[in-house]
Amino acid sequence: MGRSKGEMRGGAVTTGSLLERESSLGIILMLPGALLLMVFMAYPFFLGIWLSITDSMIGQMGHYIGLRNFKDLLTDTIFHQTARNTLIYAMVTVPFKAGLGLGLALILNNRMRLSNPVRAAVMMPWIVPTALSTLGWFMILDPVFSPISWLLRHFGLISKNINFLGDPNLAISSVCLANIWRGTPFFGITILAGLQAVPHELHEAAAIDGAGMWHRFQHVTVPHIKGVILIASLLSIIWTFADFQLIYVLTKGGPANETHIFGTYAYQIGLSATEIGMGAAIALYMFPILSVFAVILLVYLRREE
């Protein structure tokens, strides 16, 4: 058990025996991926922690300054605004995405003609490059060319175009709308996969027992897809919390910082203003919150297994 032929023959460690022994082969096979992850993920992560406790500028390693960056951020009103925006952006959009996604999944779960092309079509917001589809939204929400404004004007509901992205009161709702659009298909297709795992006999048995549609939904469907919805929500929160491109393309964090989230603010301070140490601190503020959601997800998945 566990002793390979090579070892028994005399213990000479040859390449051949390394590839045969389960334990060494396992490690060798993990190596390429692990190496890439160490150099371009683990190392930058720790480098980021180091940068965040220095006053580094781009191209110029700074000095150790303790937690000053983190303390300064706590009194930075733009950072407060950023934290608030990120919470809204990540949390408020989730119930909409989950609700719309559930509706979409329930529709797609019906037998219908052209179901494959329909599924492909509704997935488009999720799979095409976000930066490019967001350009579509950039125009749809434009103060001059917006088709929404045009429609509302056409029907006499407004007299002046709406400045979706430039009005400080509207900007956060507008970026949330684009985010909901982008995320709904992910929920839809994930919940659909959950729905298809519901045994058909359960529905039939409940129907024979006289359970109505709503009843069956509540007592047969919901218990089966609760887990999938929870997993999708956690993933969505993590991704949205750490988003960048949608905001960058639509508003770059404006107007008046009303739509800055951690990613865009870290970019602005760390790269545009070249204060890479401070930028790293902004990004690291995400870490504890992301960890909480990641741990919940991990614990849940382990329990399921």
């Binding site: 389960e22 993990m30 992850l37 940068l51 001059v144 994930t190």
Partner: protein, 281 residues
């Protein structure tokens, strides 16, 4: 009249809401497409209905290919995506197989580690990573993206492939081993051919993510001719004058097309790939 009642029920419960969803989810693409197909001057013509094309033109597409660096962006994106996908798939096949079949010290820990790596977002790493790329002197080279993208791809792809490899009956491998095949031979000659659907899902997943990636490409590829499509379009096509909409939308349509096309062909694989992680856990 049961039949017609059922039909009207279906209309109300399925097709009507479906139309709402299709309009909501597809309208931005419709809008991008029609704007890309009209002369930009028509956008200012208030008497025209903006939801339709009055004068059809391919001028915006011609402009894109003749007057911008778009063709180079396509080339860059293609090179980076293909090489990075191949590299990531290679790493993921090995890692996925090791995690699925081999017992080795630290395998449990590495399994969890890979799952957590999947959850690490680029925004957490991009500033220090910019420093690493600068030290390695990789700015404005394909390698900057080819080597960093796998950190986003390998975790999920390994996870996905691990699931596929586990579905292959152990007995097949054991009998091959009894016939004197080495583990590597088994992986290459038996496991991989049986895992084509999984490889396809993982490959499409990797390629799509590479094609769509924005943040790393924005930072590591600052020179105009080295940009990828999403970055080039967003940073170089939006100009101070207002006549850019047509070519901007044309670029967005063309840049979206390859993944939309790829995906439509392999919709089933992609869906299973996308959801496998969430559903199978």
């Amino acid at each position: 009249m049961v039949g017609s009642e059922r039909l009207s029920n279906r209309l109300l419960n399925i097709y009507l809401p479906l139309v709402f969803y299709l309009v909501f989810l597809l309208f931005p693409f419709y809008w991008m497409t029609i704007v890309s197909l009209k002369p930009t001057n028509d956008l200012f013509e208030m008497k025209y209905n903006p939801f339709w094309i009055q004068k059809f033109t391919l001028e915006n597409y011609r402009y894109l290919f003749e007057n911008t660096a778009f063709p180079e962006w396509v080339k860059n994106t293609l090179i980076v995506s293909v090489v990075s996908t191949v590299l990531s798939l290679g790493c993921s096949i090995f890692a996925g197989y090791a995690l699925a079949r081999l017992r080795f010290p630290g395998s449990n820990f590495l399994g969890v580690g890979i799952f957590l790596a999947y959850l690490v977002p680029p925004t957490l790493l991009f500033l220090p990573l910019a420093d690493v790329i600068a030290k390695l002197d990789l700015y404005n080279t394909y390698w900057a993206l080819i080597l960093t993208y796998p950190t986003q791809l390998v975790p999920f792809a390994s996870w996905l492939l691990m699931g596929y490899f586990r579905t292959i009956p152990r007995e097949i491998e054991e009998s091959a081993m009894a016939d004197g095949c080495s583990r590597i031979e088994i992986l290459l000659r038996i496991v991989l051919p049986l895992s084509v659907p999984g490889l396809l899902s993982a490959g499409i997943f990797c390629f799509t993510l590479c094609w769509n990636e924005f943040l790393y490409a924005l930072i590591f590829m600052s020179s105009g001719s080295m940009k990828t499509i999403p970055v080039g379009v967003v940073s170089d096509l939006i100009k101070a004058d207002v006549l850019f909409w047509g070519s901007l939308m044309a670029a967005a349509v063309l840049g979206s097309f390859p993944v939309a096309f790829l995906y439509s062909f392999f919709v089933k694989h992609y869906v299973s790939g996308l959801t496998a992680g969430a559903v199978k856990g």
